[in-house]
């Protein structure tokens, strides 16, 4: 991809866990590589503990990588660069009730971001810019919204505000960590539509982190499926949803209930037990649950197999 704005190479983040005798390394993410092009929504899909939020947090500089690197807008991002560039890659968090200061008016944080990250805007013009920002995410009338307190906004409105704040620094990439999972069903879709509009109208890329395959399919151009800290499969949304190749992607797809369709038969007896990520052994992490596992799978980690120019899966059972 020539116009990749974010290039992640072998990113690894380990956490030390346990006590004196039970010390271990938790492999939250393990040699993850991917790219995000400008103006696209990429969904990072995985279950709890798959490392999807860790990736966002490392990218945002909330904690450092153990090894590996990433290049953002052509700049290699070391620790110092990440600190200096806060705001270039803003993050929208999951909890719309915990991520906004409740004692300050809505406009405060927004004007603050503008002051810090947009020195080109004169003080007198900041308010007008803030109004434009909240209106871009569908909060109207903007002037009135800015004068309200956070408790006067519903969950959906707060999350829209989260995107407006992220937008304030005119980023080329927004990290959105489960932005809709705490919202009611009828409100979620509105926010997903906001993400699409930001991509189409503002040209901003979004790394959309979610456990919900159906919503990923709805907004994302490309999908990356994570399992136990590693990428299991990646490709265009149409490729991954249309012809999932990795056995884990297939398990996820068949497990997700789709009321729009007739029920699928319940095959297998997978109880959905989480994988071992503390001091994991060699080989594929999905092998203990995998119906297709072979001897080789528990010996070496399967490499990414290219199924098309854009579609890859890390599995020995997958044939190109």
């Amino acid at each position: 991809m020539p116009d990749a704005i974010l290039r992640v190479q072998d990113l690894t983040r380990l956490f030390r866990v346990g006590g004196f005798r039970t010390r271990g390394q938790l492999h939250a993410i393990d040699e993850v590589s991917f790219e995000v092009a400008s103006g696209e929504i990429v969904a990072l899909v995985g279950e709890s503990g798959s490392g999807k939020s860790t990736i966002a947090r490392v990218l945002a500089g909330l904690y450092p990588a153990t090894s590996g690197s990433f290049v953002f807008e052509g700049k290699a991002m070391g620790r110092r660069e990440v600190r200096a560039s806060r705001g270039d890659m803003p993050m929208v968090f999951q909890d719309p009730f915990g991520s906004i200061n409740p004692v300050l008016r809505v406009g405060h944080a927004l004007l603050r971001s503008l002051k810090l990250h947009r020195p080109d805007i004169k003080r007198a013009d900041r308010f007008a810019e803030a109004v434009a920002l909240v209106e871009k995410v569908g909060l109207t009338p903007g002037e009135e919204v800015l004068r309200r307190y956070p408790h006067e906004l519903s969950g959906g409105q707060r999350q829209r505000l989260g995107f407006a704040q992220a937008l304030a620094s005119r980023p080329s990439l927004i990290l959105a960590d489960e932005p809709v999972s705490m919202l009611d069903v009828s409100i979620r879709i509105g926010l997903l539509n906001v993400m699409k509009e930001l991509r189409d109208n503002e040209g901003v890329s979004i790394l959309y982190i979610t456990h919900d395959l159906a919503s990923a399919r709805y907004v994302a151009d490309r999908m990356i499926v994570l399992y136990a800290g590693r990428i299991a499969e990646e490709g265009l949304t149409t490729e991954v949803i249309g012809s999932p190749q990795h056995p884990y992607t297939r398990l996820l797809m068949s497990s997700a209930p789709d009321p729009h369709l007739a029920p699928t038969a319940f095959e297998g007896d997978d109880l959905g037990e989480p994988p071992k990520v503390i001091n994991p052994g060699p080989g594929c992490r999905f092998a203990p649950r995998c119906p297709l596992a072979m001897d080789q799978c528990v010996v070496t980690t399967p490499p990414m197999v290219a199924l098309s120019a854009t579609h890859h899966a890390a599995c020995y059972a997958v044939k190109p």
Partner: protein, 325 residues
């Protein structure tokens, strides 16, 4: 439908707030047949969990039962004293709470907690309790070694299954479940739903299952009730409600979540927010958000009207149905 095991009649629950009483459940009525699986879906604040608490007589201040009856096998739970209710709890009705992590005691082993429940409600011997505990854990595919495990040693899915095992200890006739799957990943979620279904067929208990995510129950429940602002707005056979929702709110909900494998299309959701429960609008509670609302909707509160086995609370549906007839 076979004879009902549970009849809820015009149940009303109020919460005391500084601004006056908020009507969280406003006149809910339904019957539940023996062994039936009823799903109740709705968004946060629609009163679905409050309704469950009222049925199980677990309301605490500031919640208050403001009227109505809960007839279980003909006995009105709302008139029973706590010690009389105790005879029905666990034996007749058991409850599976939303968060197993908060519902299980972190300082006791699973076995100790199962024993606790047996001791409180039966005269069983220690051997009988141990045997029954291992039996219910086996039903939910948990090995008996975990009788000695603490909750933190189990995965989220196992904890939630242990909760279900606990609810089934005394073979109740009705199991009430409050969002038992919402903290689980999709694979664990499907496995849990499948297990509940298998056990229900095996043991014949009825289920009331509350969730905000209707895709979870779409393939499991017999009937589906959609709640909005404390009222049931639509109730019918699950497939029928999914395939041909009649109430504008149910229609909006069905259009609000994307499909994984079906047609991919632009969706809109439902604009606006639920009404205040302290000072509800005069007419239909959904009218302020409804695209079809007219003057009648804004002034007269519609009734829940039955059309065969399908009930809908909407003036518009009532009128169309009348014209068609």
């Amino acid at each position: 439908m076979s004879e009902p095991i549970l009849q809820v009649r015009d149940l009303r629950v109020e919460y005391a707030t500084p601004a006056g009483p908020a009507q969280a459940v406003g006149g809910v009525s339904f019957d539940l047949a023996k062994g039936e699986f009823l799903a109740i879906v709705g968004e946060s604040g629609c009163g679905k969990s409050t309704l469950l608490f009222a049925v199980a007589q677990l309301l605490t201040y500031p919640g208050r039962l403001a009227g109505g009856e809960v007839l279980f096998d003909g006995v009105d739970f709302t008139t029973l004293k706590p010690e009389e209710l105790r005879l029905h709890r666990w034996r007749d009705i058991s409850v599976v709470m939303q968060s197993a992590m908060n519902a299980l005691n972190p300082t006791l082993t699973i076995g100790a907690q199962l024993t606790d429940a047996c001791k409180a409600h039966t005269e069983w011997s220690d051997e009988k309790i141990a045997q029954r505990s291992a039996e219910v854990l086996a039903m939910v595919a948990i090995d008996a070694v975990h009788l000695k495990s603490y909750p933190f040693q189990l995965s989220g899915g196992m904890r939630q299954r242990a909760m279900i095992a606990m609810a089934l200890l005394l073979e109740p006739k009705l199991v009430i479940m409050d969002e038992p799957t919402s903290a689980l990943d999709v694979v664990a979620q499907r496995s849990l739903m499948h297990q509940v279904e298998t056990l229900r067929h095996q043991l014949g208990f009825a289920v009331i299952f509350v969730t905000h995510d209707m895709s979870v129950v779409s393939h499991y429940s017999d009937r589906l009730a959609v709640m909005y602002a404390g009222e049931i707005v639509e109730l019918g056979p699950t497939r029928q409600v999914f395939d041909r929702p009649e109430h504008p709110y149910s229609q909006g909900l069905m259009e609000a979540f994307p499909s994984l494998l079906g047609e991919s299309k632009q969706l809109t959701g439902i604009a606006g927010n639920p009404p205040s429960l302290v000072d509800p609008p005069e007419g239909c509670l959904f009218a302020p958000r409804c695209a079809y609302a007219n003057d009648e909707c804004r002034s007269v509160r519609p009734e829940l009207i039955a059309y065969g086995n399908h009930q809908v609370r909407c003036h518009l549906v009532a009128r169309t149905r009348k014209n068609d007839a």
